[in-house]
């Protein structure tokens, strides 16, 4: 099994999740577990730092669609930064970029997600 790990921190009202490893169903579920707990605790703004996730599959990315759906219920937002070109392309093909935001640096992401 591939390893997938998360580091979670808060920047004010923004939850920043730094991932590492293959974003498959297991990775997606780990991200959603963190997001749903934080949403229960009234967090609304989430950023994924995908610098160390160079490989994804559509099942893992589908779980991000679930998170977007949950965030729509609370007027929240999901964004990403440090994406590998193929990951950004995959997000575009699947339409995630219509309902969540891609940023090109952490500073841009922290300012733009609010």
């Amino acid at each position: 099994m591939s390893d997938f790990n998360l580091e979670v921190r808060k920047e004010g009202e923004i939850v920043v999740i730094k991932t590492s490893g293959y974003l498959n169903n297991v990775g997606g579920e780990k991200i959603s577990e963190v997001c749903y707990k934080e949403i229960e605790d009234k967090s609304k703004f989430f950023l994924l730092d995908l610098e160390n996730t160079k490989v994804v599959n559509s099942i893992g990315v589908s779980i991000l669609i679930e998170i977007i759906e949950k965030l729509q219920d609370v007027d929240g937002k999901l964004g990403y930064y440090n994406l590998a070109p193929i990951v950004e392309k995959t997000f575009n093909i699947m339409g995630l970029t219509k309902y969540s935001s891609v940023f090109y640096s952490e500073n841009e992401a922290l300012e733009g997600i609010l």
Partner: protein, 138 residues
């Protein structure tokens, strides 16, 4: 004149979690051998991951899938074959995120990704299995 057959790299994978990553390791070596650029290699890897996942899902757990990488002069042809029960491509809807949001079924993106990332894609499915043949030009 004798026609020379293109070199073929063959890989057999068991239906085990994340085994699609073994296929991408082979694809990386083949892409490098062919002089494909990083973007092309990444698109091949992503399409291959999706093709393998589909093949695994159509297969019994004790079965294997087969992958053939055919190294041609101007393109790479990849065939992914499973021995599952087959499927009717015409019944696979084109996924749209607008419809996925609010739906219980968020998945079903594999074929669309393969089509978008590769130059050509062909599906042959019978009751004895499915072969996806996809190509990427150099």
């Amino acid at each position: 004149m004798v026609k020379v057959k293109p070199p073929v790299v063959e890989l057999t994978l068991p239906v085990l979690p994340d085994m699609e990553l073994a296929a991408t390791k082979t694809a990386e070596v083949v892409s490098k051998h062919m002089g494909l650029n990083d973007d092309q290699a990444a698109e091949i890897n992503m399409a291959l991951i999706e093709a393998c996942i589909n093949a695994f899902e159509h297969s019994e757990s004790d079965k294997q899938i087969e992958i053939h990488f055919k190294i041609k002069d101007d393109l790479l042809e990849i065939q992914v074959t499973d021995k599952g029960i087959g499927f009717d491509k015409s019944k696979v809807a084109i996924p749209k995120i607008e419809e996925k949001l609010g739906s219980d079924y968020k998945r079903g993106w594999g074929l669309q990704l393969i089509k978008e990332l590769m130059d050509t894609v062909k599906f042959e499915s019978t009751e004895e299995g499915t072969t996806v043949t996809m190509t990427k030009k150099k």
